[in-house]
Symmetry: C2
Subunit: 246 residues, 2 copies
């Protein structure tokens, strides 16, 4: 069980307690730790990682703060949540669906919206002239009370005037599209990357610094293959994985 020569890097700009927190989180997700719902005692973890008990305590405190662990004096430290949600990605991807079996309570929430001039990337993706007017929508989606993703979407302002208000009213992009005569739509392409969470992500997704977000950049098209939505979605990587269907 022991792995005492596991080399925690000491002058790396990442404190030992955070390196250990990251690894415990990883091991929980991979099922290599906490299989019985409880973490080994602090002294055992300290020996395992080859560090002082206080250092382990720092790691545990961070994971408790994140809601991953729960510590009880005299009893032990327990795993609070372990499962990751799986988002399907494919031609028929709707982020709001495909999760019905995985979370009881799912809701989207409009943070902000405005009309602005399309930047180059957006104009290209939507097939519009440079600096054409577009509607920008910032949303957060939660599952069972925990934020899982944060998206910025752009729509052609000419075709989808007032889209944000419609979305707020209906609570679903799919339903809002129907109001505009888009009965069905498809995912044309998705680019997936990953990076450290920025300030906005940290805030809206309630993450701790150094956390990771999966970034999905997508173009949706209507049945006539005209682009209708360009979106960049940031998922909390600890809470979500993406499933690509063949």
């Amino acid at each position: 069980m022991k792995n005492p020569d596991r080399t925690m890097e000491r002058r790396s700009g990442i404190s030992l307690w955070r390196q250990i927190a990251d690894q415990i989180r990883r091991d929980l997700v991979q099922g290599r730790l906490g299989a019985n719902g409880r973490l080994p005692p602090e002294t055992a973890l300290a020996a395992h990682f080859g560090v002082n008990r206080h250092t382990v305590r720092g790691a545990i405190a961070a994971l408790v703060e994140e809601g991953v662990l729960r510590a009880e004096q005299g009893r032990g430290t327990f795993v609070e949540q372990r499962r990751r949600l799986t988002y399907p990605i494919g031609a028929r991807t709707r982020f709001s669906e495909g999760l019905r079996d995985q979370a009881r309570d799912r809701r989207g929430h409009l943070l902000d919206h405005c009309e602005e001039a399309a930047d180059q990337r957006t104009a290209e993706a939507l097939g519009l002239a440079p600096a054409a007017p577009v509607i920008r929508m910032d949303t957060v989606s939660e599952a069972d009370g925990r934020p899982v993703s944060r998206a910025t979407s752009w729509f052609d302002a000419d075709r989808f005037g007032g889209f944000a208000e419609t979305y707020r009213e209906l609570g679903s992009v799919t339903l809002a599209f129907q109001r505009y005569g888009v009965a069905d739509y498809f995912r044309r392409s998705t680019l997936v990357s990953a990076r450290h969470a920025d300030d906005g992500d940290l805030d809206d997704l309630r993450l701790s610094p150094g956390a990771i977000v999966l970034v999905a950049i997508a173009v949706n098209v209507d049945t006539e293959d005209r682009p209708i939505q360009f979106a960049e979605t940031r998922f909390a990587a600890d809470r979500v994985e993406l499933s690509v269907m063949a």
Copy 2:
């Protein structure tokens, strides 16, 4: 241009210089910095981030070490590499292909291989009995001299005996499969997630601690829909993005 109230978190377990390095790397990839191939002077960056010049120097030193920046005394600091490789993922995914336009020199490299008993996940994915014998292969692939991904693959040992040697000889999974009579194959499913790089990733992909890997877990099937390969690939998230085709 200034953004002096950008709050670098000070007691987060991540040193300021590393937070700043992470953000500069992010801004480079997003084109918000270094558009003209050169970084603003250290004093300007220090003012921008609201920290001491020495702290910025720490961040730059780390990025120079990573090969992202190049500092020249008296002249300035310059961007060494910015572009990310784009890996296509779809029914016809072959990681080794689809990159021909993006990198001049691409090569795979066998790190290690052995025969072992399948764990539950592997047996399930390959449709084998629990603990059935499988061949395990650890590989690293490089593009233009920089490691971009690290994969662990499993194959049915009964059907693909000696696969690792064949791969080493031919340098390609696709070619090796042909030796075993698999003329064509398809990607059945891909799970994409992201996490902090572990010790092995750090080493083989030449990453610095706190770096991010994109994890793609995939099952390949032959033309009769029989699973032939189960693989977990870790991509250096700074160097790669994944493109999901509709």
